[in-house]
């Protein structure tokens, strides 16, 4: 009895607080100030709530509180999600989804504290300035006070929660709202990886889109298809292609009436990003690029004319590509060439555009060396690297990764590319890289990783299981001597094929990381990230 009373009191309190805030918001709107994203969301929610309140007292307030709290506490994420967040307390989420619950669980002290914190944050954010978009309110904290520690509660990315049915349902709802097709998993997943997606290359999500696609821009559709079929592969290539597609989108974009370009364009980009992540999970470099673009878009002042704004954005994208990718690779080559001496035998793995560029530059600068290209099934990307190097005229040897112990006594240096550098010093790269680093360490051969700073990422990871990508398992099937042993692997219940895409290399295997900021040890990655954040 007391409980229900308490709850009623709570809800009444909250509704009064809500009303107060609502007044604030309405006032702000009338005064013509820019609304933060939170406030706009809250406005919409209040309208909904008032409608629902006519039917049911207890309905949404808890739900909204959680969403609000979650949205504020989440750091700026490239894939914008509106209300469909994973609630920090799953019990409440499931409770809120049930239609009319006779009893609601009482609010715990922690939730109330969190709500109070959230409210304080929003008020601080609204006071700080109207420049930042709603997404940036969390990251404005580190900007304003770089010495403060970041909030710990982060939202888990969707692509590593495949085993959670609640998360899947939320994703499905979100995609439905954005009119993006949902891709279904394929084949038997190894139990260790049941939390990851596994798609088949034969069913790209573009098959489910009608032509002409009204919601998703055609260049994005094309890009998604190229990603899912593996036509565009490699961290730099994917980022550059993404940025070019965004340029096209911005070119074709026209602001609808009564909308701000800075708000609306960001919202337009969300379904595109969801679609692309359905085609293939976003890489760390793509994530950083998208973050940057969204920030730039949100920073466009409202007085700016549309043409001017578009031109500015195009320039900004061009300069990003130029600075972060092209000039960075020049800088890295300059540093790396100092490390290549005459008579060297250099081992490279797979096809890294950066490492290929370094080797070609070194060859042009008349360094005498030869290259050993190590390759692995099923992607066999090393053959592409081999073609490029041989075309340049560099002497090459080619082996598969199982012959590594045989070839390593001849090698003097190992150059590896990276997909991302994690904040705890681990290098995330193509699967097999950690193996090369391990065997090189056993033979005392120095391992140098080349990576641009825009691939540095704030995540931490210690093994290759929690966050990875599963490629099409049918790629492992091969026909030798006319026999295909794994042809009917789907029919055999206890047989599974595992086609990993990435793995993480511990920092003790890596001797040096060459970045555009200089040559740093693996453990200095968080320092670089901090410096970058303060600069920006």
């Amino acid at each position: 009895m007391a409980d229900s009373d308490g709850r009623q009191v709570d809800s009444i309190n909250h509704s009064t607080e809500e009303d107060v805030k609502l007044q604030e918001v309405v006032q702000a709107k009338c005064e013509g100030k820019e609304l933060t994203k939170e406030e706009k969301q809250r406005l919409r929610k209040e309208k909904k709530q008032h409608k629902k309140n006519k039917k049911d007292d207890r309905g949404p307030p808890e739900k909204e509180k959680e969403k609000e709290k979650a949205s504020v506490l989440a750091p700026s994420k490239p894939a914008t999600q509106s209300p469909a967040h994973k609630a920090p307390v799953p019990v409440n989420a499931s409770a809120s989804e049930s239609p009319v619950a006779a009893e609601k669980p009482a609010k715990s002290k922690a939730e109330q504290r969190a709500e109070r914190r959230a409210r304080q944050d929003t008020e601080r954010a609204s006071k700080q300035g109207k420049k930042e978009g709603g997404q940036q309110s969390a990251s404005s904290k580190p900007k304003a006070t770089p010495n403060e520690l970041q909030p710990v509660v982060k939202r888990l990315p969707e692509h590593i929660q495949v085993d959670d049915p609640a998360a899947l349902k939320k994703l499905a709802k979100k995609l439905e709202r954005q009119q993006v097709p949902l891709r279904s998993d394929y084949g038997y997943k190894v139990s260790l990886f049941s939390h990851l997606h596994q798609y088949s290359r034969k069913n790209p999500p573009t098959q489910q889109i009608s032509i002409p696609a009204t919601v998703i821009h055609p260049s994005i559709v094309r890009l998604g298809l190229q990603y899912s079929q593996g036509i565009i592969a490699g961290s730099n290539a994917r980022s550059v292609a993404l940025l070019h597609a965004f340029k096209q989108v911005i070119q074709d974009y026209s602001t609808p009436p009564n909308e701000e370009l800075s708000r609306d364009l960001v919202n337009k980009l969300s379904p595109y990003i969801s679609f692309l992540s359905q085609c293939r999970p976003l890489s760390a470099s793509m994530g950083n690029a998208i973050k940057h673009i969204k920030k730039e878009i949100s920073n466009i002042p409202s007085q700016c004319k549309e043409e001017e704004a578009k031109r500015r954005l195009q320039e900004c994208i061009d300069s990003y590509i130029n600075e972060k990718i092209i000039l960075a690779s020049e800088a890295i080559s300059k540093y790396a060439i100092e490390k290549i001496s005459d008579g060297d035998v250099i081992l490279v793995y797979g096809c890294s555009s950066l490492v290929n560029h370094i080797l070609c530059e070194a060859f042009e600068k008349q360094r005498k060396f030869r290259v050993i290209v190590v390759d692995s099934r099923p992607r066999l990307e090393g053959r592409e690297a081999l073609r490029r190097l041989v075309k340049k005229g560099i002497r090459c040897t080619y082996v598969l990764i199982s012959a590594l112990s045989y070839i390593l006594p001849e090698v003097s240096k190992v150059f590896l590319g990276a997909h991302a550098l994690l904040a705890n010093g681990y290098v995330m790269s193509r699967v097999g890289t950690s193996q090369i680093a391990l065997v090189a360490k056993a033979y005392n051969v120095p391992v140098l990783v080349c990576c641009e700073t825009y691939k540095f990422c704030e995540r931490v990871q210690t093994d290759s299981f929690v966050s990875n990508e599963l490629d099409d398992p049918d790629d492992l099937i091969v026909t030798r001597n006319g026999k295909t042993h794994l042809e009917n692997w789907q029919t055999v219940k206890s047989l599974g094929l595992l086609n990993l895409v990435y793995d993480v290399t511990p920092p003790d295997f890596v001797d040096l990381v060459i970045t555009d900021l200089g040559m740093i040890p693996c453990t200095s990655v968080p320092v670089v990230l901090r410096v970058k954040n303060v600069d920006q």
Binding site: L386, T397, V399, Q435, W489
Partner: protein, 380 residues
């Protein structure tokens, strides 16, 4: 008239010994040509089976066929004393190992048979074997090189004894895989994750035996370019063992979840190291890094008195076409491609050897070798 008939019978009786002699000689001559034919066909099969796709038949079969052939040589060749027999066998053994140097079981079986002959000879002579084996300084100084002439004595029952001992050896060979599989339950507990590489019939039998009573998960590294891991995986999954095929590049990535690594090998070297399929060294290093035990299932006939220091004779290569196919076009002429078949795994990375006589540490291999082979037979 009776004198003519009488003459005929007398002639016949005179010719009869020669006639019967020819009757006896023809199968004898047949036997010899038959024997050399068999040896030739065995040699040509050895030469053929080495090219590509691993071995057409497992080493157990090769060992059995070699031993059977050696038994036939003992039975059918002409020899007067033990020394002659050993010479013949050594000569044939040299030809067989020259036909396929990487197939070491052939040489191992020849050495085993030589050791058998020595033992039987010593037993016939009545001297104890242990005294011969222990080489004290005193013995080395006083005996000198006297052992060679000892084999010139003729013993009537030597042939039968040697053939009987070789039959015992054959029985032992037939039971090796079963002996190894019987130990499976001592090493595999339930809900384990076991990793293996390529295809080994010994390991297959080992795992299938354990699967009858325990439930566990096997990860098979496919071992490019021949991808024999695929065959292994399909065969294991038919016995309802939870199997996963992983590419070679993912070995280190998944190693942190593996409880044991169980592999087979082509040869066990004299220092306890292995000569195994390529990719095994990487697997062993990854296991060492994660402190995962590495168990080698190898029957005793794979134990070879070679050491791994002969760099140029240790490796065997297959056609680079397997690595970089001809469809790659014009870059082929400008590129070196290598396709080594074997890897050397040093004994420090190995935890346990499981053989038909039980489990042993790698540091004990030298003792086992001294029991199986005589030191003078190490060089055929």
């Amino acid at each position: 008239m009776p004198s003519l008939l009488h003459q005929f019978w007398v002639d016949l009786l005179q010719d009869l010994p020669r006639f019967t002699e020819t009757l006896v000689k023809m199968p004898g001559a047949d036997k010899e040509t038959d024997l050399s034919e068999r040896i030739e066909s065995f040699l040509s099969e050895l030469k053929r089976c080495g090219s590509g796709a691993g071995s057409l038949r497992g080493s157990a079969e090769t060992a059995r066929e070699t031993t059977a052939l050696l038994r036939r040589i003992t039975a059918q060749a002409r020899w007067g004393n033990a020394g002659d027999l050993m010479e013949i066998i050594r000569k044939e053994g040299r030809r067989m190992t020259a036909a396929q140097p990487s197939e070491t079981t052939v040489g191992n079986m020849v050495r085993r048979v030589l050791k058998i002959i020595r033992e039987e000879y010593a037993r016939s002579r009545g001297s104890t074997e242990e005294a011969d084996q222990q080489e004290s300084l005193h013995k080395l100084l006083t005996s000198g090189g006297s052992s060679e002439d000892n084999f010139r004595q003729h013993f009537a029952h030597l042939k039968a004894n040697v053939i009987e001992a070789i039959n015992e050896l054959l029985t032992e060979l037939e039971g090796t895989t079963d002996n190894i599989s019987m130990q499976a339950l001592e090493h595999i507990h339930s809900n384990e994750v076991i990793m293996t590489i390529g295809r080994s019939r010994t390991v297959e039998a080992f795992l299938k035996d354990a699967a009858r009573k325990r439930k566990f998960h096997v990860m098979v590294a496919e071992c490019a370019p021949f991808c024999q891991g695929h065959e292994m995986a399909t065969s294991l999954s038919k016995e309802d063992i939870e199997t996963t095929v992983i590419p070679d590049a993912a070995i280190f990535a998944v190693m942190s979840r593996v409880n044991k690594v169980i592999i087979g090998t082509q040869t066990v070297l004299a220092n306890g190291g292995l000569r195994a399929v390529n990719g095994t060294h990487t697997l062993a290093l990854a296991a060492k890094h994660h402190s995962t035990p590495l168990i080698v299932c190898a029957p005793m006939f794979k134990l070879s008195p070679q050491f791994p220091n002969e760099e140029d004779t240790f490796h065997k290569f297959v056609s680079p076409h397997e690595v970089l196919p001809f469809t790659e076009g014009e870059i082929l002429s400008k590129v070196n491609a290598h396709g080594p078949v074997f890897d050397y795994v040093p004994p420090e990375l190995i935890t346990l050897f499981i053989s038909n006589i039980g489990g042993n540490a790698p540091s004990y291999i030298y003792r086992l070798m001294s029991e199986l082979y005589h030191p003078e037979d190490h060089e055929l």
